[in-house]
Symmetry: C2
Subunit: 302 residues, 2 copies
Amino acid sequence: MTKLWGGIEAGGTKFVCAAGTGPNDIRAEQRFPTTTPTETIGRAIDYFRQQQAEHGKLAAVGIASFGPIDPNPASPKFGTITTTPKPGWANTDFAGAVGRALGVPVGFDTDVNAAALGEWRWGAGQGLANLIYFTIGTGIGGGGLLNGKLMHGLIHPEMGHMRLPHDLTADPYRGRCPYHGDCFEGLACGPAISERWKQAADTLPDGHPAWVLEAHYLALAMTNVICTLSPERIILGGGVMSHPTLLAMVQREVRELLAGYVQSPAILNNIDKYIVAPGLGNQSGVLGAFALAEQAFSAAAR
Amino acid sequence: MTKLWGGIEAGGTKFVCAAGTGPNDIRAEQRFPTTTPTETIGRAIDYFRQQQAEHGKLAAVGIASFGPIDPNPASPKFGTITTTPKPGWANTDFAGAVGRALGVPVGFDTDVNAAALGEWRWGAGQGLANLIYFTIGTGIGGGGLLNGKLMHGLIHPEMGHMRLPHDLTADPYRGRCPYHGDCFEGLACGPAISERWKQAADTLPDGHPAWVLEAHYLALAMTNVICTLSPERIILGGGVMSHPTLLAMVQREVRELLAGYVQSPAILNNIDKYIVAPGLGNQSGVLGAFALAEQAFSAAAR
């Protein structure tokens, strides 16, 4: 029988909640601002109760969360947002609160791991055991599946904070990461583009040197990800990627940077099918939350 | 019953062959130079035949190989060295030749994946599902296990070729990678140290600025690996790491570069147990080959 999933895309500025069964059936998506944990998680719970009253019992809920988080089901702090600087949210037992209120299994992971799982389940990464998803937006994050499972390890990846070559002569901008200055996120997130060029990123025209520089940093980062992880595909999502020519510029420069060293047809001949846009558009997050719910349901049923 | 394994550590300049059952039982290790595939693989087969005559049948052989290779058992080119510039070795069916001659299952992977597996089985990474091993020597390579399995993906990692920040004012050396110039390996392999300082790396004294710079590049690379993969431990092997103070310098600088962003006790309080020397010393490779043999035996028995 088709199961009804609940999904929360929990961002630092807004929450998106939805219920549904998959990409062709997303019901009554609701958005509200992220305020205090009690209020915001309370609104999400109210939303799901209302959905249950209208459509019947949810089988499970998935949460695609801002972080850092504890996504390890074996840990006593599983389901919590851990050390975020966002006021009030540190050590919030997010998954526990939702699970107790609704009495359903809860899947919980980073926003980017969830998006990767959504793309693996229904989007541009179907059937791939080694898949990386990046969001390039207000912040930069990366996650994915390796050897068929979501990436956790010590905690979870923080791919936005890798260090990249930064030619201060060509680009004297010092970067805006409060921890690392000119790490990947510090150089290439949307607000960094706006601050560097003193103009909102989405108003910079095609052909502006901003996009050449942005493609350069993105290509350096993707080159490092390819050398480090050897993924079968990379999906680039997030608001910055909506600039129309950016993806093709990144694809071209990754191939140049690898310089023929990684001898795979995927890179040498089909880079346009190797580094791709999300198959689920801007719904990777919510559908990723559904996919987390589905995983949690299966785990609870075992 | 204890099984007898054969192991080949196949490097670009020399082969090391051994037979044995584990770290406390390595018999009659033999070394010879890497010449043509026919001659070199032939000598390895002769060695194993002689071991079998003396000690009884080998249960399986493992090969820890220089690359790039095809380590995917489902691929028609499994077991081959693929596109190496080393004369005569491109498209060599290495595992197939050994398996046909000896009539045993053959495990085949990169030298660094094998070393990681050896350390996971008997050394400094026991019980860790997410473990990275680097060799810092004539070249630089990294591999490991993620989610409990060896890293393959599209092909296999080439971690030595990630790009790092390179301050040309502080270090005008242009790097020696024939593909990428100043990638990680181009800046930080043993021959790069010797070329930059015009002195053999192993003769540079403690306190020489060469080691500060080397630690800096190693720390940048390990920081990127931590942000990208979130490993539970990193093992640093290879000849360059034998410089006595280098490991501690890398540990210290990794913590500085992460700047408190990754909030794990492993990094904040126990970095000396997080980035470590190999537990198997310079036998990670040969014992890794035994561990590959063991995996191949188990797979064949299923």
